[in-house]
Amino acid sequence: MKKTKRTAATAAMFATALNMALGSVTPDTAQLFNAKADEPDYEPSAEIQEDVYGPPEYFSTTTAEEAYDPATETETTMAVVYGPPSMMTTTYDPAIGFEEPLYGPPSFFSRGDLNSDGVTDVFDLIRLRKEFVESKTNGKNYAYSDYDVNSDGRLSIADLVALNRFILGKSSSLFYYNNYDPDDDPMPQPEYGAPLYFEETTTSETATETTAVSPQTETTTEIFYDRNTTTTTVTEPPVQPVYGPPSAFD
């Protein structure tokens, strides 16, 4: 499935909102990072609802959604604060996948299975998210608890992201961030400036003024974004429509 600036912006919006809820990012610091966790200028008439069964909307003269390629993003327009955790202070082997207690019997707990239903899935994520929010006020110590899924000694956004990625199959270990390498990570990461939001005026989602494209009169070339690279290619005008070709259904 394609990653676009829009999907990256959605992910960034969620991450920023969560950080703001936790106080890690305030509205002021969010502005410094140019983060858009909110919709300050919501305009109902500009919304495009994708119909329940219809095809995706598009208007021909607007540009296609730009593919998102973190390697080419140079602007640090967004710093989602869920970076690598602090240094480990206990000894354990990430390859094991769960932490052996310093003393006591080995744990049979499947790390990430917070509701003990035998599987690690979205319901555990829901549980973790809830605990995460409550942790700001309940005074509990979560260091190396079940909720500290990446065992970095605290309950933070890194645990949410780690569990999220683990559930999605994007990482095989919940200790991902202990061996974090941005080059391996296709997702937008803070150090590499995930795009904040796509430019509303240039995406296919905005109901901008469009001009009917009549293939019979068009003389301009079109520019398409190559899905596999970040360069643009200039193409010739589209082939004149031919209607009444041989039917495929005779």
Binding site: M1, K2, K3, T4, R6, T7, T10, A11, M13, F14, A15, A17, L18, M20, A21, A37, D38, Y42, P44, E47, Q49, E50, D51, V52, Y53, G54, P55, P56, E57, Y58, F59, S60, A64, V122, L125, R129, N164, R165, L168, G169, M187, S204, A207, T210, A212, S214, P215, Q216, R227, P238, V239, P241, V242, Y243, G244, P245, S247, A248, F249, D250
Partner: protein, 357 residues
């Protein structure tokens, strides 16, 4: 997860905007049901399509109609949504869409893709198709059984590959209708779609309309609904192009989080539909009752019908029901989607109160 106060404020704005739409509707999407015939017989089909008789308009009738629409509304910010049945069953499909393209309309279609190969994909490009949504309703066995088409999954996936290979369409989307039977397959489907070059994956729940009314065992339970919406939200948090559809008010928790817009049923305000026989209505998923047919393009000019009729769709359904009238969400919900409103009992068949909020 997103700021609830902001959502509340925006939805209040939207509620006011919706009131203005009732008196000043804006045509944006025009659905053309080219045929009721279909080479599949999906259990959930809202239009009960299949190997059925289908009064269909001719190419010239479409030409006249589309020319009038262009004269009266222009083509800017308008999109034709071609649907059926299976539109590609029409032998004159490319004639019709060639006319639409020549007139300058943007258009897209829904299809089961079983009739699409590399050549057909090229023909679709030639007649200007912009976007397409293809239905995949589960893993192969489930999909084939649900659509009662042996080998359907295989052919649909090949059709999608042909569309992707053409590399020219603005969006190739997969739509999955989630039922109580296939909800456990979402993660497996994700693993398959993740590796395909599609633009988005739309996940919608089965609604009790059309043929689906005969299969109550497919309707989602409360737990299924929560699971489905959490699944979609998890995907979006991870930056995947997954979205819920336009139906149903989801409450402050999930609104804006499982799709990029707030709930607004636009049947009759943004959307109009032309049935296979030329009848004019709002949304093709709405029950086909005589009172919902606003005219016919063979004897009425569409713009006159759009401007002077459609009152039945430009009101708040929640005003028709006592429980809805007293609900504090009614300004945001406005009675929920038209296509799941029970017009006999005057109540919503689908309401997520006590499920999601």
């Amino acid at each position: 997860m997103l700021n609830v106060r902001t959502k509340n404020s925006n939805m209040t704005k939207l509620a006011e905007y919706r009131e203005s739409l009732k008196t000043k509707p804006q045509l944006r999407n025009l659905f053309l049901e080219l045929t009721l015939r279909c080479n599949e017989r999906c259990l959930h089909c809202g239009s009960s399509c299949g190997d059925v008789p289908s009064d269909e308009l001719t190419v010239e009738q479409y030409r006249k109609f589309l020319t009038e629409v262009r004269e009266d509304f222009g083509v800017d910010n308008k999109m034709l949504c071609i649907t059926g049945g299976e539109p590609l069953l029409r032998k004159d499909f490319f004639d019709i869409m060639g006319i639409a393209n020549e007139l300058g309309f943007n258009w897209g279609m829904t299809s089961n893709a079983t009739l699409i190969n590399d050549e057909v994909a090229k023909d679709l490009k030639r007649v200007g198709m912009g976007t397409i949504s293809v239905s995949i309703d589960g893993l192969p066995e489930t999909h084939d059984a649900f659509r009662r088409t042996p080998g359907g999954w295989e052919r649909a996936m090949k059709g999608i590959e042909s569309l992707i290979k053409a590399d020219t369409f603005k969006a190739v989307q997969i739509t999955t209708v989630v039922t109580h039977q296939n909800i456990g397959q979402l993660w497996e489907l994700y693993k398959i779609f993740r590796d395909m070059d599609i633009d988005s994956w739309r996940i919608i729940n089965i609604d009790p309309i059309g043929r689906a009314k005969l299969h109550p065992e497919l309707i989602l339970t409360k737990e299924d609904y929560v699971y489905m919406f959490e699944f979609i939200r998890t995907m979006r948090i991870a930056g995947e192009p997954v979205t819920y559809g336009c139906s149903h008010y989801l409450g402050l928790e999930y609104e804006r989080e499982v799709r990029d817009w707030y709930f607004l049923c636009t049947a009759g305000t943004y959307i109009a539909s032309i049935m296979a026989n030329g009848d004019i209505t709002a949304c093709l998923d709405i029950e086909r009752r005589p009172e919902f047919i606003q005219g016919n393009i063979l004897k009425d000019r569409f713009s006159e019908v759009w401007n002077n009729k459609f009152e039945i769709f430009r009101k708040n359904l929640c005003d028709e029901n006592e429980k809805c009238r007293s609900c504090k969400e009614k300004d945001f919900c406005h009675g929920d989607a038209y296509h799941t409103w029970d017009f006999d009992k005057n109540e919503p068949q689908v309401c997520f109160k006590d499920v999601l909020f």
